[in-house]
Symmetry: C2
Subunit: 619 residues, 2 copies
């Protein structure tokens, strides 16, 4: 991992943050609460997301050269979506390119109001002096910090310190509670860790909470996977196994502790500097992290223990940070619409505009949120982990060896694919699976009902390269993407009829959910001005293909579909840097109308209907 760091100053915000070399500029902007309009979804196709590099180095990319004149390049114009940090830079974003100030860092006039934007933990210099009635240390502290919370464990620490009065100290404060008094001579950065509690993968980021700089990132498989690969099987394990909840909690906390170890190693910092951890994930993952049994989520009426944001000491769950470090867990919306979705709403600023907008979060489950300009409505769908490659014969996560893109090369009359890491292909990740499905629908190989056809009549209409790929896979039809070099059938990379049924279920669930939400808000799909796509998988799909197979609304221009990355991790990072973001998350979680799809009389009918793929113009 490349550990060089650079200073990035973003105008007109005027804020400088330190980032790892190679960080994408759009991610940096998002961390600062700025969403940049990316009409083509950040693929370098439309050439519209132009920003100014005011100082520093930014080698033009091929896309830059395609869309910008030599003179524009010389002036420092670059495409935001292509821009990665390779030196200290100052970058100016034209006001017109800013979608909105997603957590109100900017006022309407563009004036910077950073003072409202207090990180979850701050350090403040305090002068501790004798007061008229200062017989105790607490009175002296309260004189400098009126109304501050002083829990017993913090008093125990203070009592052990030898504190001469008068003295100047750095008070470490978390939302009105004193965590420690540090010596100003030994001042160290105030660090925080943001964690995305994914069902399948965990991601963590180490931030300097004062500067906003990202010092290190890492990720790993959620070790709870060994107890079940989806939310339902985890709930079963927790409910039916003695100490099941505690075992699952221990698994995820241990993994986060390993990640913290990795983060502090990468950044070369001390764990004592970490005073805050923020976690966001689906409701079940958040329950398990907090040691709350999710048993009630597993039986009618599928109730969470709590949807409220949680604040507690890191020691209460066993996280290895500063002994008085705090934890913030995102508020949730419903039993199956969790803190990750709240993070998505807050980071996209979904509810800040006037026109209808949709957020689709494609994780192990699929959550959908609709903003009609006045009301937020959210629903969970049982999409399952198909888009993460699970339950798909040759499916896999988007790691090295995964085919992540498949396309038809018209000129060469051949199917082509791209493998992550450039190695030999091992399997298909979600984005490639969607590509293949869309291709099969376009060539009429898969019917609207989802049947994979392989008849001679059809084969005759297909290019030779495609016709050859229709095979019989242990008695059922299949489409072969990569033939095993050894020539035997076992190692081929294929998409089978069964896989297509799984995809029909997953896509149908999302589509039916979207349609139910649209109907309850009386909004036509074409009225949606923006569709945000969140979740690790969501970031890499071809939007047109997602529309073709019915995963996303078909009747809107593709440009309206925007990727917003790992919204859960972004939200956690933003919360670390801003109490206002926490307040907004809590506000949003309370005001969202939670639609229980399964209990809606029309849902099953809609679901069945949505299993039929949309009509498709043949290629």
């Amino acid at each position: 991992m490349e550990l060089t760091r650079y200073q990035v100053t973003v105008l007109p915000l005027g804020r400088t943050i330190e980032v790892l070399a190679g960080s994408r500029f759009v991610d940096i902007a998002r961390t600062l609460g700025l969403a940049i309009s990316l009409p083509c979804g950040g693929e370098g196709v439309c050439g519209k997301c132009r920003v100014w590099v005011r100082s520093g180095m930014a080698e033009p990319t091929a896309a830059d050269r395609r869309h910008l004149t030599e003179s524009e390049l010389e002036q420092g114009q670059r495409l935001a979506c292509q821009l990665a940090v390779r030196s200290d830079v100052v970058i100016e974003i034209p006001e017109t390119l800013l979608l909105r100030a997603s957590h109100q860092i900017l006022t309407k006039t563009g004036e910077v109001r950073l003072e409202k934007d207090t990180p979850l933990v701050t350090k403040r210099t305090v002068n501790l002096t004798e007061t008229p009635s200062a017989t105790d240390l607490v009175a002296i502290v309260r004189h400098a910090l009126p109304q501050v919370g002083l829990p017993l464990c913090v008093l125990q620490d203070l009592s052990q310190q030898l504190l001469e009065i008068p003295s100047t100290r750095l008070a470490v404060l978390a939302e009105g509670c004193l965590l420690a008094l540090e010596s100003p001579e030994e001042a160290s950065p105030t660090l925080g860790v943001a964690v995305d509690l994914g069902t399948t993968t965990l991601a963590a980021s180490l931030l300097d909470m004062t500067t906003g700089a990202e010092l290190a990132v890492c990720g790993r498989l959620n070790p709870q996977t060994e107890f079940g690969d989806d939310v339902i099987s985890r709930i079963q394990f927790a409910s039916e196994t003695p100490w099941g909840t505690q075992r699952l909690q221990h698994a995820v906390v241990s993994a986060i502790n390993e990640m913290i170890e990795e983060l502090i190693g990468q950044a070369g910092v001390d764990r004592q500097m970490i005073y805050q951890v923020v976690c966001a994930g689906n409701t079940t993952m958040q329950h398990l992290f907090c040691g709350l049994s999710p048993q009630h989520l597993g039986r009618f009426p599928f109730r969470a223990t709590t949807l409220e944001a949680q604040r507690f000491f890191a020691s209460e769950v066993g996280l290895n940070v500063h002994p008085r470090g705090r934890v913030y867990v995102f508020p949730a919306i419903g039993g199956f619409v969790g803190g990750d979705t709240v993070a998505g709403i807050v980071t996209t600023g979904l509810d800040q505009g006037r026109s209808p907008a949709l957020l689709v979060d494609l994780g192990t489950n699929g959550e959908i949120v609709l903003w009609d300009g006045q009301v937020l409505r959210a629903a969970a769908t049982a999409a399952g982990p198909a888009f993460e490659g699970a339950r798909i014969k040759c499916g896999m996560r988007a790691t090295e060896g995964a085919i992540e893109r498949v396309w038809w090369d018209e000129t060469a009359q051949q199917l082509r694919y791209h493998v992550i890491g450039g190695t030999d292909p091992v399997g298909l990740c979600g984005s490639a699976i969607l590509d293949v499905l869309a291709l099969l629908r376009q060539w009429g190989i898969v019917t609207a009902e989802g049947r994979l056809q392989g008849g001679a009549a059809l084969r005759r209409t297909l290019p030779e390269d495609l016709a050859h790929r229709l095979i019989d896979d242990q008695g059922t039809p299949a489409f072969i993407i990569v033939q095993n070099s050894r020539g035997d059938a076992r190692g081929d990379i294929v998409l089978t009829q069964r896989d297509i049924r799984q995809l029909q279920l997953a896509i149908g669930a999302i589509r039916a959910g979207t349609e139910m939400l649209l109907r309850s808000a009386e909004i036509a799909p074409e009225d949606l001005q923006i569709v945000y796509l969140a979740g690790g998988f969501g970031n890499y799909i071809r939007r047109r293909n997602a529309q073709l197979v019915g995963l996303l609304p078909r009747h809107i221009p593709t440009e309206r579909i925007q990727f917003c990355g790992n919204a859960s991790l972004f939200g956690a990072k933003m919360a670390l840097l801003s109490r206002e973001v926490c307040r907004r998350a809590e506000d949003v979680s309370r005001k969202v109308e939670h639609i229980e799809l399964a209990s809606h009389p029309d849902f099953h009918w809609k679901f069945a209907e949505a299993m039929i793929f949309p009509d498709c113009q043949p290629l």
Copy 2:
């Protein structure tokens, strides 16, 4: 121990409490917040504290027969100070006998206002029902109990329970925080433990917090004594030994856990029923119990870590009660004026009257509080543990074998004494030490400067029994109280010249402190309308003798001196039963003016002066 319990109903309060057989009525009244005027200090001498036994049995005592006519006895009149409970009884206290309603249970008109008097923990029946947006259990609980605090550990418990909705539950509530949801079918009493954290002895009482009934009591030596017998040596140990604070905390918490074990055994109850522990003690003892290092109390400017009341979970310090049980630790006034003194002020209602009143708490240290009708002033004195028998050659605590009273029998011309438990005498406890000192002063054997005289001229003026008792004890003069039956000198019970020097220091410290407080309030000693004497030792002394040797102000009628028992334990019990008492304790602790005697320029002069015993009329 006699474990039979009886119901005592007290009129006009109308409240019934259950007490152990043999409980003293004045103690019961005090638990209910009623202070009865005892002009002779409760010795059965004045015959003024008459109450009415309206039903039940109360065998007249010798004192009753001395002061009451046969017809008065038949009507049910008894002396309150002599009354002990031997059956279920209803007792009426005449309004004129009530000193004041010490925590405002009674209004001025005598109307009962129990509703203000909420115990620290209450159980309330709640109906948990579906609410329009009840997707989570917490929302359902909040619908029934708005604004309730729900800490993570309680949510963890709730998540493990299988809770059908709708359902009726008993919500266990502690000052706005939910501790548990109990099944109403298995309703159990709500119990609390009051603890007096004495430097030398610990005392604990198990109360039913709903009825106020005392179910069991017990006491034991504070095991911290092995690390030092006074506050200063404990502070040294805590400051200078690795993990010193933690070791002292562990010692006292273990002892309290043993006492809890004994209490629940005596009462035949389950520890899960105990939801609250209240502790009061001096500032150092409270620090050590909370795991707060007292190191700053041991060096200039002798600062406590905190004087605020503390509230935390019993599990945070390792107390074995209900896992979600709470602890309340009394607020303190200064580094050496602790929660025990606050308890004394609150239980006596010292600041409720209009006329000057003094509270002297004689424990291992001596604390003095003066109320001048408008301002409370408090001071700590370094009286040391002499009154508890420590540092006195034949001194001992007031347990079996201790001589607790010594007097001159004019008729028989002989010194007499009384031994606790009626056994052979082993040593002298504090009250007897004071008796002997007063006697020696009255006979002119000890001079005003504290010299124990043994010259022939003096011997000739003394009765023979006294003259014989003046001996030489290993080179210094001594007064022998009991001669060893074996005839050798080693086992004699004596008071030595060195003992008298110790007493001079202890009495001088209290007297100088009292005089400093009186002077700063510009009050003459004779203006004191009441002097309360608290502390285990204080309960048993002869008030006249305490005045003779200068421990208590001489120029007030002895009747104005009132015993108030173990105020620390009483205060803890009252706090268990009343949040109003906690509020008043916190209020009082903040408004007391703390006088630092040692830093006062006049103090050393006053102290030296106070070492001279007052003039004494010879017998």
